[in-house]
Symmetry: C2
Subunit: 437 residues, 2 copies
């Protein structure tokens, strides 16, 4: 190493990891910094939260993935500040990293729209720790119901509210319904798990706003068939230990529920605020940084922002969604752009998102997909979902293991990773999780 250009990548998620890999044959020294030592396949995190998969099956150590790519150095650490003039990043432990090109890919964190106190009662699903906390909450609720003699309290233990009816919310609701109606069917003696109420709340007029209306309607019908119910056009006003209060039309309703999950919203990661302040970049309400068409920060051609943290636009003018394919393509683009600068060739054309479509899975053999504008649903959509997700799992072994787990679950409805861990004993789980975005 030594004289080569230094590329520093902050964040080892979809955007950062794909940027690092795309720099494989480029003569640069790459440093990939992440707070965690592993790459997490976020789209399957809800399966950890609902006991289908173990964390180890949807995560792979970053060092392992990159061990053969000798121009990459992986560091465990967290960026605290950026000096875009001196081209330096300060880490939380006081160390400093210098760069010639910087790729910021620190993603998003869950956001409670100014009601940060809800975090205590409504766990979000962004980290492995939150996923196992949700798993704990769900499984513990059935255990508590089994032991609860008071029918009102018992009903509250068996009521599950999910706030947010995007893909994550729909996937959680579908999986929860399957747990109650199939997986736990014979496991209890005092309660009937299939009597659990599963409620999906959202402010929008329908579930899955990112998908076409006909597919969203199909998804909602599938949810109802599974026993979950969606309430659209509602505004949540309070979440506490005993339940959820919300406005629906003119009336205010209260639902007694011991388990509330948050799939409501995300905002830019903390580092985004720092970057915006240091570069005077514009942001949207969620703190995403408005980037140039080539994904650089205005005025700083050596700083790229990719993934959930970037506010970039489709050719039509609509902002790009915070999904994995966007992050991967942006990471790849940033790497290409750096390589082109280095060998003096022409810069690539402005970033263009190649949109293959959207997918959401509702349950066993049930999904909806918008594939290049083609609307697919039911079993074919589910097969498509299966195929896409298995292909993208990085490590071959994970792929095989996940495939076996799913195959087994498909045939038997059982779930392999139904462990209540992390909180001692029989105390009802609070969920002040350690996630900081």
């Amino acid at each position: 190493m030594g004289e080569k250009q230094r590329v520093l990548i902050l964040g080892g998620g979809f955007g950062g990891l794909h940027a690092a890999r795309a720099l494989k044959r480029v003569p640069v020294d790459v440093t990939l910094l992440d707070r965690r030592n592993f790459y997490l396949f976020q789209p399957l995190l809800y399966q950890v939260a609902t006991g289908s998969l173990s964390p180890g099956e949807i995560a792979a150590p970053l060092r392992g993935i990159l061990s053969r790519q000798k121009n990459v150095r992986v560091l465990l650490g967290e960026a605290a500040d950026i000096d875009p003039v001196a081209k330096r990043v300060l880490l939380k432990d006081g160390a400093t990293l210098e760069y010639d090109s910087l790729i910021v890919a620190t993603g998003s964190q869950s956001h409670y729209f100014g009601n940060e106190q809800w975090r205590e009662w409504a766990t979000s699903l962004k980290s492995v720790e939150e996923a196992t906390a949700i798993r704990h909450k769900i499984l513990y609720a059935f255990e508590a119901a089994e032991r609860e003699p008071d029918p009102t309290l018992r009903a509250a233990w068996l009521t599950f509210v999910i706030v947010g009816a995007g893909a994550t919310g729909v996937e959680l609701a579908g999986a929860l319904a399957e747990i109650a109606r199939r997986t736990l069917r014979n496991d209890f003696r005092s309660i009937r798990p299939e009597e659990a109420r599963i409620l999906l709340l959202d402010g929008a007029s329908r579930v899955l706003p990112a998908l076409p209306a006909d597919l969203a309607a199909k998804a909602e019908r599938s949810l109802i068939r599974l026993g979950a119910r969606a309430r659209n056009g509602v505004k949540v006003t309070c979440i506490d230990s005993e339940g959820v209060t919300f406005h629906a039309g003119q009336s205010t309703e209260r639902i007694a529920a011991k388990t509330v999950l948050w799939a409501g919203g995300v905002a830019a990661s903390e580092l985004g605020c720092v970057l915006a302040a240091r570069t005077n970049a514009q942001t949207d309400r969620g703190g995403r940084i408005r980037v140039n068409p080539d994904l650089t920060v205005p005025g700083f051609p050596d700083i790229y922002v990719v993934g959930d943290l970037a506010l970039a636009f489709r050719s039509g003018g609509r902002p790009l969604p915070g999904v994995a394919p966007v992050a991967m393509q942006q990471g790849y683009y940033a790497a290409q752009s750096i390589a082109a600068r280095l060998d003096g060739s022409a810069q690539p054309r402005p970033f263009h998102y190649f949109d293959r479509g959207d997918l959401a899975v509702i349950g066993r053999a049930s999904a909806v997909a918008n594939l290049f504008g083609l609307h697919v649903w039911g079993f074919p959509a589910w097969l498509l979902w299966l195929f896409v997700h298995l292909m993208y799992l990085v490590e071959f072994r994970s792929r095989l293991l996940v495939f076996i787990q799913w195959g087994f679950q498909y045939l038997t409805f059982s779930r392999g990773a139904r462990l209540i861990t992390g909180v001692v004993d029989t105390a009802p789980p609070k969920t002040k999780t350690a996630d900081r975005g």
Copy 2:
């Protein structure tokens, strides 16, 4: 249910679960109480601690295992007190359970020989949480070494001390040596993981005191070949955040080590003290309860103690070891005894442990086994170990998944579950775990 005899089983480990299953065709109402909702295959816990397996792969939900056995009711909860005269068990949450027959199978907890303050620095390996904490410590140590410029501190990060050279200690040492020398070989840029020092300390004169001397010597040679070293006949006097101090012969030595693991000793679970106090039963130094030859508590023919908590003896007079086969056979025996009483048939003869022998695995394709007095080592012993452990994994799916993980690891030396989770970010992990035995 209703008029039938009530059998209450405290603890869903090897002893308790096997007792419950053996009562399948007996006309009794069984209640199985456990603090956790899952059965844990303890002998493979070191593989979770060393990143080979995920917790979900060595655990199965108790409800799932017993869902078809309709005379069993599983309860999540923890016993606080026992009233052997009124035949009642009080739970920590205030509830009461009545019984006609009681099987106490609450096992053992790690024990620091009066140095409870060591627990903070030397994590033991009894629970899933401790296993993932150890995994965190080990992986974090390599990460910290990679970033440490000071060679002395770097060496301390790369020094791993395991206190206790029984089966767990030897298995941890072997796995750690393989991690350093094979798994992480190409993963770092500043350090050479194979320079890690792995040290096994024990007060006894050799490793694996439970096994014959020739096999122990073979195991020690295998460890040395892998790069670990055993120091026997030493007495640990201090463990703190920076290392371990111990007496060896006349001298006192100090080893700077950031990672210390405890495989040192176990004592009876907390409930054992309560039971001993309420029944005036005799205990040994570790708090194990001396039982009658039929595993009942003297003076209380309806209370059985099985597994690690029971102090029972071989025909020769030596106490039985705290291993899974003893617990399983005792659980089965207690169930048989209750069944015999119920239908008025002859009581079974005093409990006799059918000893198939002992096994310890050192690493890939390396183990030692004493099988019915036949000494086996190397690859054949390893195959034996593999076979025995796969057969005893309760759920078919776990068996298959573990087999695949192991097969993959055998071929590639990689480890699938190398996640640093549970503690935020880059702070060095303290390990005040939540385990209470």
